[in-house]
């Protein structure tokens, strides 16, 4: 993460005045928002206040309505916020999984800055070639949404990185047996966890670069949700290949409370 962004972020936290009204915190994202919304529901059931309102992108697919708030409506909501309020973005987030879940028939690897070796026997893709391709996705729809969000509000905008990948290949395979059985890819199987982690790190790095340009702060995933290798710890797995569960959402809520203080509103 960019050191200056982090410094500014923590200096801001340190200077918070307890007399200043608590910030209103709005969160917006797509599928990763689900874990947060379920965590809020759990808190509500126990009468515990949540620090934020979580909105999931409203869309219709195959006649199925998902989410609750259109992006345009969310922009309108953020327009009414104060400078001391916070918008947490979870926009996008799963691009890395598109590249790194199903094993590619032509095995490949790449090296991030600082890596000292590449996977032996796999075809090396130069970082900058892969980054150009990956960036076209990140800076496409998601990048435009982040820019629009930044433009729409006076509030601080913080982007929460998506959960890191799962290390357990059997877990992924178990939940996608039919997909892996399709179209001659049964033998391909699931990619190596190291490739999934490398793509997640690539995405995180490129998103950070974009956020720095847009004056958006970046929050990493809650450290307590990670195993010692940086993967999502199994107790935070949702029952699919890429998402985290409501317990992870609870850690995010605690992370938000630690970072910004509890807020009055919940949803």
């Amino acid at each position: 993460m960019n050191a200056n962004v982090l410094k500014s972020f923590f200096r801001h936290l340190a200077q918070r005045n307890p007399d200043v009204p608590k910030p209103r915190i709005l969160l917006f994202g797509d599928s990763h928002t689900y874990a947060i919304q379920r965590a809020i529901e759990r808190r509500n059931a126990k009468g515990i206040v949540s620090p934020l309102e979580a909105h999931r992108l409203l869309k219709t697919k195959n006649n199925l309505v998902m989410g609750d708030t259109s992006f345009e409506d969310f922009l309108t909501l953020t327009g009414a916020l104060r400078e001391s309020d916070v918008v947490v973005s979870m926009i996008g987030g799963n691009q890395h999984a598109v590249f790194s879940t199903i094993q590619h028939p032509q095995r490949f690897t790449f090296m991030l800055p600082g890596d000292v070796s590449a996977e032996p026997g796999a075809e090396l893709i130069p970082y900058r070639a892969l980054a150009q391709h990956f960036n076209s996705g990140i800076r496409g729809r998601d990048g435009q949404s982040l820019a629009a969000l930044r433009e729409a509000t006076r509030a601080r905008v913080v982007h929460l990185q998506p959960p890191p990948p799962k290390r357990d290949n059997d877990h992924i395979l178990k939940h996608h047996e039919s997909k892996f059985a399709q179209d001659n890819i049964a033998d391909l199987g699931v990619s190596a966890p190291e490739l999934r982690m490398a793509f997640w790190r690539l995405q995180s790095r490129l998103l950070e670069e974009l956020c720095v340009e847009l004056n958006i702060e970046v929050l990493p995933p809650p450290p307590a949700a990670l195993d010692r290798h940086g993967y999502l710890a199994p107790e935070f797995y949702a029952s699919d290949a890429t998402h985290a569960n409501p317990s992870y959402g609870e850690l995010v809520l605690q992370q938000i409370e630690t970072s910004f203080g509890p807020a009055e509103a919940t949803r």
Binding site: I102, G114, P126, K179, Q182, D240
Partner: protein, 356 residues
């Protein structure tokens, strides 16, 4: 009237009949050219800028433009192209001189390991001195540079060992080399990376003997690992951008350089049965077209000139046989990519169905 040898010569042996009289587009200076390629012939290319045109034309024409370093298919074609995959048969960039080609061979087969092998331009920017413009933005680390170079040189070896025809366009005689070990750089250090140091770098202008010796060594080595390989030599018609020959005018240096290369090509054609010469240089520079094939900068070759060259090349090398268009359905790679996207899309849509 006495008989003499000229009496029986064909029209192409006479300037007036074959150069001055025909319409420019009809001038065909290709003499004896016995090589034939078919749609299955693996044709690899290397050389100076002009060789890029040959590569581009072949790849569009349905013939087998042979590329052993394609770039990984997870990258879209536009990205691979932007990163110089497919520009030549492997990602070596422009090879301007015979010495550079010979040393590429030597590096690929482990016979040479240059001392000056990495130029660091920034914290995360490392250039390969032997192809400094090939990776846009450079490599992010020395380790990445070395890993990619190892992969590249393996692709070069594979290319030489398995190609059917190697088209090489001789471009220049002038080069800059390492004083320490003689390693020739494609570009002068300091121009597109690296730092020029007169204590480490020296100017080197090849003589005709040097070019012939380098090419002889290369062709002999190629035929040793690939006995049926055929070589087509051409001379780039693109003039020197600048000369470093002390006291020389760039026009005179261009004439020297192209003359040396043309003599070397002819010498090698006569020396090796596997070597052929194709007169792209003559087609572009010939007085018959009155300079019409050059752009306003008098250096770059216009598409009309390239078309003339490639039309004659295809006519003589293929006998005018039109290659069938290669069709391809969705293969296992495309399926993997489609299913990967679907998997993530479905997950993102179905996460709401996930029980606690």
């Amino acid at each position: 009237m006495s008989q003499h040898p000229y009496k029986s010569l064909p029209d192409e042996a006479f300037w007036r009949r074959s150069v001055a009289a025909p319409a420019p587009a009809d001038v065909d200076p290709v003499g004896e050219f016995e090589l034939r390629i078919t749609p299955d012939t693996r044709v690899a290319t290397a050389g100076s800028c002009f060789a890029q045109h040959i590569a581009r034309y072949l790849s569009r024409s349905g013939y087998n433009y042979y590329v052993t370093e394609l770039g990984h298919p997870v990258l879209p074609e536009a990205v691979r192209k932007a990163h110089n995959y497919g520009l030549f048969s492997a990602r070596y960039g422009n090879i301007y001189t015979a010495r550079q080609l010979l040393q590429l061979w030597q590096r690929a087969f482990g016979l040479m390991s240059p001392t000056e092998d990495c130029w660091q331009e920034g914290e995360e920017c490392f250039l390969d001195p032997f192809r400094p413009t090939t990776q846009p933005g450079g490599y992010v680390s020395r380790a990445e540079l070395e890993a990619d170079r190892s992969q590249h040189l393996a692709a070069v070896r594979r290319m030489f060992e398995t190609l059917d025809v190697f088209v090489f366009t001789l471009g220049l005689t002038e080069a800059w080399r390492s004083i320490q070990d003689g390693a020739v750089f494609p570009l002068c250090p300091g121009t597109e990376g690296g730092t020029f140091d007169p204590a480490r770098h020296e100017f080197y202008n090849q003589t005709v003997d040097d070019v012939i010796a380098d090419m002889d060594q290369f062709i002999t080595a190629l035929l040793a690992v690939n006995p049926t390989a055929q070589v087509i030599l051409t001379v780039s018609p693109v003039p020197l951008m600048a000369t470093a020959e002390p006291g020389a005018h760039v026009l005179a240096s261009t004439t020297y350089s192209k003359s040396v290369l043309r003599v070397a090509a002819e010498t090698l054609r006569k020396r090796f049965a596997a070597v052929h010469y194709f007169p792209s240089y003559e087609i572009i520079t010939g007085a018959f077209n009155r300079g019409a094939y050059y752009a306003d900068d008098l250096r770059n070759v216009l598409e009309s000139g390239v078309n003339h060259v490639m039309r004659l090349f295809m006519t003589h090398a293929t006998g005018g046989v039109v290659a069938p268009v290669r069709q391809s359905g969705e293969d296992v790679i495309a399926r993997q990519q489609r299913l990967s996207q679907e998997l993530v899309d479905v997950e993102c849509d179905e996460i709401a169905l996930d029980p606690d």
